[in-house]
Symmetry: C2
Subunit: 144 residues, 2 copies
Amino acid sequence: MFSKACEYGIKASIYIALNSYDGKRVSLKEIAKEINSPEAFTAKILQDLVRNKIINSVKGAYGGFEIEKHNIAAIKLSQIVNAIDGDGIYHGCGLGLDVCDANHPCPVHDQFITIRNELKSMLETTNLEQLALDIKSGVSFLKI
Amino acid sequence: MFSKACEYGIKASIYIALNSYDGKRVSLKEIAKEINSPEAFTAKILQDLVRNKIINSVKGAYGGFEIEKHNIAAIKLSQIVNAIDGDGIYHGCGLGLDVCDANHPCPVHDQFITIRNELKSMLETTNLEQLALDIKSGVSFLKI
DNA sequence: CTTAAATAGGATAAAACTATCCGAAATAAT
DNA sequence: ATTATTTCGGATAGTTTTATCCTATTTAAG
């Protein structure tokens, strides 16, 4: 469904949000360990998220990544997916046609529209706060 | 959502079904042209579908690909996807966790279960006959 | 029998994605 | 100032996916 990069990006964002609530800035090394991802590759993805202003970074000793507390609830899963995988998941045709719309549909157009709309609405209504709180309360997990 | 190979495989299967209704066997060259896919790559995918007994092939002059008429309505999209992309689309975790179930869910487990189940049921209830008839009646299109 | 037309299948190449390495720049603490 | 820590960014490598090429095999027609 999503690329590996996107999976890491979502998990990293959740872990950063989780710690930002406690005013704790987290390092790349800690993030990669806690979400079980390759460090250097995760660094690239975090840089991407920083450029897209979804997370903040602070260089140097005692630096790391953080998200401003008052932003956590406003960050939707859709923004993270969009920053990393682009918006193909919303617009692309299920069978790869260049043009695929109601006037010129691919064979599975209607079926896909339904599922894509649900996926889209799920991504747009799920925010980092919900996800981070579930981790905090032990309801869900970021690894193993 | 699906791999390129799977997109080509679905479109090719529809085109073959469409022609098998008229008792017409179609060649790789014709298929690739009509679904706008790279010929040699499409050949590999068709071989795969033949090995999975989803389509039949006949070698030699006047050979080509076909599907037995009485099978067309019984072939579900899910079989084609499964033959080409495997069943990861059903079982894998949305965030790539090795273990992700009700007892140990990833942060988006519940949200994904819902969407995946709809995708699954869509693939299992959509068959080649429906799709081929829509192409025949000009309701949907296989290219451009 | 020969030829032309097809699929089958192995080898290879190109592109995209995933992952690693290393030096540069920034920053806090000593 | 120096040092240790940390992100940034470019270069490179490995892996998977996508795509191509070429030869062998099969088959119908002439």
